[in-house]
Every structure is written in structure tokens, then in C-alpha cells.
């Protein structure tokens, strides 16, 4: 079966046009938030914290800030795109078209990745202004940005298909994404935690995402690489399969 490339590209350009209508929400807000994190935790507070090996505290914090924003951008993009289309019923335009379920999902996830990469690049530019950007391995960097975007894009789609109200869109952010990302090692190493609390890092998937990106950027690693990779790839595969199945049965779409 041939791929409907024009249909896929239409999904992407349509969403880009939509995002262009809300530049403050889509572009400016995450950059201002990242700027404040970098300035306060990296520069003001970080200036009083001793270096991590050969790296400053700001250089240590930056990958975590980038990852937090990637997670938020990916999740918000997927939830807002799907939920608003359901709310306006404009999702029916896609449902009546000859796009396969996989193409519908691929179109949504492509935009999620684009927005995340764009957000990451914006924060890296701010980081450069503070002289805090390093790139230990670009392929690794892209791997973590893309895979984590996909995971939170899939999660966002599931939440957007499930939600019946705007309030429900925030449930995962408030009770799961924000707390876990905050304690996932953005601002501290595992070694800084008391031994009895270190399970909180090792049992937290965000720790592996942040650690992976940190290794890609500054070469600092404090988690077994195999666990991080296996966890990330498994999560992406499982969530991707769930989303595909939901589209195939029409859950939240064709009921």
C-alpha cells in the first residue's frame, strides 16, 4: 500500500499554520520559562555551587531544562492538537479522508517531534548566550530528543482521546509529568541524594531521559546505559502500539 505523503505533509503544514497563530503559547512561553530556569538555577544559584568534574553547575543543569521542555512541548502539542480537533469536530476532516491510521498517527507525531526539536534548539541558543552548550554526541542527542518526544506525543494522544473536559487534559501533567521531571535529576546528581532516597531516581523514567540527554551533551552519565535505552525504546514501542490500536478501534474518535 502506498503512503499518502501529500496527506501527511498536509497534516504537518496545517498544524504549523495553527501554531503560527499562537506564537506566545507555542514558542515564546517555553523559551521564557527556560531562560528563567537557566538564569536562576544555573547562573544565580549555580554560581555558588562547586563544579561537577570539569563542568559548571549551569552546564550540568541545561540538559535537564532542555529535557523538561521537550517533555512539555511534546505532551502539550499532542493533547492540544487532538483534543481541540475533537472539540471542534474538525478531526472529522481527517477521519473521512483516505489516510490510514498509521498515517494519521505519523502526521501527529511528526509535528510533536518538530515542535520539540524547535523548542530544544531555542533553549540551546539561550544556553549558548550563557556559554553553557556542549555536544558530546549529536546522534545521541537526536536519539533522546526524538524518542522522548515520541513517548510524550503518544501519551498526549491517549490523554486527548480519553479526555471529556479541558480539566482532564491537565491530570497527567499535574500528577505525573511535573513531579517526576522535577525529581528526575534536573538539578542534582543521584550522589547528592541520601542513599535511602536514591531509589526515587532509579525508579523514575525521567531520570533516564535526563541522564541520556546529559550524556549526549556533556558526557556525564550516572545510570546504566542499557537500562535507559531499553526502558525508552520499550515505552515508545508499547505506547505507539496502544495508540495504533486505539485509532484502529476508533476509541474517542469514531464512537
Amino acid at each position: 500500500m502506498t503512503i499518502n505523503w501529500i496527506g501527511l505533509w498536509t497534516m504537518i503544514r496545517r498544524e504549523i499554520q495553527r501554531l503560527a497563530r499562537v506564537p506566545i503559547q507555542a514558542v515564546i512561553a517555553p523559551l521564557i520559562s527556560a531562560l528563567l530556569f537557566i538564569f536562576i538555577f544555573g547562573f544565580v544559584v549555580g554560581g555558588r555551587i562547586k563544579n561537577f568534574g570539569t563542568y559548571s553547575y549551569l552546564e550540568f543543569v541545561l540538559p535537564g531544562v532542555v529535557m523538561m521542555n521537550i517533555v512539555n512541548a511534546a505532551f502539550l502539542q499532542a493533547t492540544s492538537q487532538i483534543y481541540f480537533q475533537r472539540f471542534q469536530k474538525s478531526i472529522e476532516e481527517i477521519l473521512v479522508s483516505p489516510l490510514s491510521y498509521v498515517e494519521m498517527i505519523a502526521g501527529t507525531i511528526s509535528i510533536v517531534i518538530l515542535r520539540s526539536v524547535f523548542t530544544a534548539l531555542g533553549i540551546m541558543l539561550i544556553g549558548m548566550a550563557f556559554g553553557a552548550v556542549h555536544m558530546h554526541s549529536l546522534p545521541e542527542f537526536l536519539f533522546w530528543v526524538i524518542l522522548v518526544s515520541m513517548i510524550f506525543g503518544f501519551l498526549g494522544i491517549i490523554v486527548a482521546l480519553w479526555a471529556k473536559t479541558f480539566e482532564q487534559l491537565n491530570v497527567l501533567v499535574v500528577f505525573f509529568i511535573q513531579p517526576l521531571s522535577m525529581v528526575g535529576g534536573v538539578f542534582n546528581t543521584v550522589a547528592m541524594l541520601p542513599p535511602w532516597l536514591r531509589w526515587m531516581a532509579y525508579g523514575n523514567p525521567f531520570f533516564y531521559f535526563i541522564n541520556g540527554l546529559r550524556h549526549a551533551m556533556i558526557g556525564f552519565n550516572e545510570a546504566p546505559t542499557a537500562i535507559g535505552l531499553t526502558l525508552t525504546l520499550t515505552l515508545a514501542a508499547v505506547l505507539g502500539t496502544i495508540v495504533w490500536r486505539l485509532y484502529a478501534i476508533g476509541w474517542g474518535l469514531r464512537e
Binding site: 503544514r13 496545517r14 495553527r18 474538525s90 481527517i94 473521512v96 489516510l99 478501534i249 469514531r254 464512537e255
Partner: protein, 250 residues
């Protein structure tokens, strides 16, 4: 000849338990102009939603020019254009983009889309309004955009769910002429409407649906063999004839 649309024992039960379509079977031949009548909530729109993929049928089969609308949904959808009853668009997008996106979803190349969009925008008198956000358009103009969107892929089966609801007489007459033109050129049209004169004027075959079942189906002429014509036949088929006769007698 392969029917343009063949629905067999269609049933749709929503998650809430509401049975929207109990048992609908109907066949529309290629080139037909088919009228689908019924009171509000009878199951017309749900049937259309099942045909076009907006909702999943609970059971039954739907074939569009012989292509199964569930098992081979991609190929089935290439053959259909839908103008829904509700305005299911991004209200902040402009008319040109709304039509263009639909063409893109159907895999139409940019040059082909532009040619079709220019033609449709001209045909529906939208030139002055093509770049205005949808939400700023009047009800009639919105309806024109929805109709243009339904026709972007030059569908073999055009489904129009109450296309003239809320539009002025001029557009209605103009649309009738255009639909007759399309039908003469070979497009099969399925039309639902509450305006009986519209169905009477345009359609060759008519089905009446009530409480999720087809209660009458046949060539238009059959509806005029009885006194009172289509209106009487419609009221009789939907079980409202006695009620209306009583009101008229008062």
C-alpha cells in the same frame, strides 16, 4: 452494475446505549440522485457517519462502488465527498485553507488543488471571502465553504447532509442547479433534507427512515400515486399522519 452505495443491515448503538440505527439496508445505483428523508433523530446522519468513517458501525456492511467501507476504508474514502450537517472545521482557518487541506488529505497535488479550489471558490461565489476566517462568515457563506470542501476531490459519490439548512433562496436555487449539473455529469448524490420540495425537485429515488429503520423506499413517482404526494407519504411513513390530520381538523 456495481451499486454506488450498498448498505446492508446497518446497526449503530452508541456507547450510551442509544440505538441510533436499528436496521438500515438500501442500495443506490451509480448516477442516481437519492433522497434520504426522516425526522430529526431518525438515523439519517448516523447512517451517513457510518458510510463516511466518522463513526464505526456496530454491525452490518457498507460498500461504496463495491469497496468495503470498513475493511478497505482508504480506497472507499477516495470515492466519497461529504458535506456534513454541522460545521466541523477549524473556525480560525480561512475558507481557502479549509478547502486546500481537505484536498491535501486526499493526496491531491498542489497544482491540481489550486485549480479545483479556484474553480470551487468561483462557483460558490466565495472570491471576496476566501481569505477571511471561517468564524467571521455568515451562515450561508459557511455552508458554501463546507460544500466546496466536499467537492474538492471530485467525488464519485457526493453525500450532502442538509446542505441548504439556513441558506438563502438564491444560494439554494444556485446549489440545486449545480447539483443537477454534477449529477448529469455522472456524480451519484445522496441528499438528506427537511425541505420536501427540494427532494421532490432533485431526487429520482427516495427512502424514508424512522426510528433507525427504512420505512419506505422507492422511485419518486411511487410517492405521488397517492393523494397528498410526498408530504402525505412522509407523514404516513413516519407515523405522524393521524396527528397532523387531527390538528388540521381543529
Amino acid at each position: 452494475m456495481t451499486p454506488a452505495l450498498e448498505i446492508s443491515h446497518l446497526r449503530k448503538v452508541y456507547k450510551s446505549g442509544t440505538v441510533a440505527v436499528e436496521d438500515v439496508s438500501l442500495t443506490i445505483q451509480p448516477g442516481d440522485f437519492f433522497g434520504f428523508l426522516g425526522p430529526n433523530g431518525a438515523g439519517k446522519s448516523t447512517t451517513i457517519h457510518c458510510v463516511t468513517g466518522i463513526t464505526n458501525p456496530t454491525s452490518g456492511t457498507i460498500k461504496i462502488f463495491g469497496v468495503d467501507a470498513v475493511a478497505d476504508y482508504r480506497n472507499a474514502r477516495k470515492l466519497v465527498g461529504l458535506s456534513p450537517q454541522e460545521f466541523n472545521v477549524d473556525p480560525f482557518a480561512n475558507a481557502r485553507n479549509i478547502v486546500d487541506w481537505m484536498g491535501g488529505y486526499f493526496g491531491m497535488r498542489a497544482a491540481e488543488r489550486k485549480r479545483r479550489i479556484d474553480m470551487l471558490i468561483e462557483r460558490f461565489d466565495l472570491v471576496q471571502h476566501a481569505n477571511k476566517p471561517f468564524r467571521e462568515l455568515s451562515g450561508g457563506l459557511k455552508r458554501r465553504v463546507i460544500l466546496a470542501r466536499a467537492m474538492i476531490n471530485d467525488p464519485k459519490l457526493l453525500i450532502l447532509d442538509e446542505p441548504t439548512a439556513g441558506v438563502d433562496v438564491e444560494l439554494r436555487m444556485d446549489l440545486w442547479r449545480y447539483l443537477q449539473e454534477l449529477n448529469r455529469d455522472g456524480t451519484t448524490i445522496l441528499l438528506t433534507s427537511h425541505y420536501l420540495e427540494e427532494i421532490e425537485r432533485l431526487c429520482r429515488n427516495i427512502a424514508i427512515v424512522n426510528k433507525g429503520r427504512i420505512v419506505r423506499n422507492g422511485p419518486k413517482e411511487e410517492f405521488f400515486t397517492e393523494p397528498g404526494g410526498l408530504e402525505r407519504a412522509y407523514l404516513a411513513a413516519t407515523g405522524k399522519a393521524a396527528e397532523h390530520a387531527a390538528v388540521a381538523a381543529r
